[in-house]
Chain length 257, copies 2
Amino acid sequence: MHEEVPATELLQNARQYFLPAVSVDNVIFGFHQDELRVLLLRMRASRKWALPGGYVFKEEEIDDAATRILKRRTGLQNLFLQQFYTFGSTSRTRIEVVKEFFSEFNPELLENSWLMQRFITVGYYALVEYGRVIPQPDEFSDRCTWHELNNLPKLIFDHGHIIDKALQAMRLQLNYQPIGYNLLPKEFPLKSLQVIYEAILGRKLDRGNFNRKILAASILDKKEKLYSGAAHKAPYLYSFNKKKYFAALKNGLKLGF
Amino acid sequence: MHEEVPATELLQNARQYFLPAVSVDNVIFGFHQDELRVLLLRMRASRKWALPGGYVFKEEEIDDAATRILKRRTGLQNLFLQQFYTFGSTSRTRIEVVKEFFSEFNPELLENSWLMQRFITVGYYALVEYGRVIPQPDEFSDRCTWHELNNLPKLIFDHGHIIDKALQAMRLQLNYQPIGYNLLPKEFPLKSLQVIYEAILGRKLDRGNFNRKILAASILDKKEKLYSGAAHKAPYLYSFNKKKYFAALKNGLKLGF
């Protein structure tokens, strides 16, 4: 994997390392306390929030760049990472905002900097296990923290729009691919999975219908009952059948939510 | 709309006009004689087939570049054009193939040409009315013709893979967005729409099920019977209800094919 390029080196010599005009932005979703959350960075100089992103090394696959950035910011690898859209508007970044970003550095370095060009950005989303993530700010940020999807801070550039598009893509994905593997612990009641589907869809689902559809998909194994005081009312626990889950990820499902 | 940049000017001064490292490729589908077809260019010098594509002007939205290329090659505008994937592999283009492309020009022009860099390409697909298209080769090609999806010639670079991905995206799209508006004449029997769905899905559908699902989607208006010798057996004709069709395109459908 490529080494991280130090900040001053990036500002002075980025064009030696990176593919021009192309960046990658990752929308990293985690699930905690019944809420879908997004991992965001706070830029040190401007105090503004942004998606974890970066540039693509000249000899690096774009998918590998997204994976590298995900690993750097979360400490995790081998995660489900999905390209969902490329954002190519001419007005998506503003030079003043970029300058504000890097305002802790010598402004002369910025004047003709490679960073001031127009960038298109390739959007990826990832679903990660909240409890396993060790958030790591990058060289330009002082915080890397989770934010509730329903209560996001103001974001730079088109990053709010990128999150909306990622959510739209996940909503479609729910209908033809399984979701949840990286978001839930090993064993969970069906209700937890329903809450994830509801968080992504942004609406409540009927419990009976949900259970029927998700069980019909044959990606779950039934486990022991969840222990509680009233054992006869306790729900069964389930786990994902890894083989069937990944087959469904590849070949598709018809869930129709 | 931007003017086309003449070939020799492109070879010498492309970097003045275009965003570096980014191209656009259009997979243009048409429907004729019960077959899904793709519009391809034959490169004049190498005699190899390629997707219609191009570069993005420095101040041009990527979507607008795709629209411009579609208009130039088909003569049509206001078509359904959908971004579906960005291809970012480092091995997707090969310098030797690029050189062969342009071998009718002075090889010295090519040596340090902007065209020899690595490109990522943003893929779009379009569905167009076969009968209305007037195919136009570009400056580097001598033919622009339709090819049956099931009988494609060998394609340059990763263009075969790009067509496969476009087809996959359309298959998913069938389940949540209507398709067919630009592919069929104003009035048509349900069977014609079924044949399009079958061509995209690559499998036969049950007629009764298809009719039930597509009518339940409420995007069709029933018209007069198709005239034939045996009037009592003639199928009804339908047309797309434009208002409902475009609402469904925006808000989604649940067809579940």
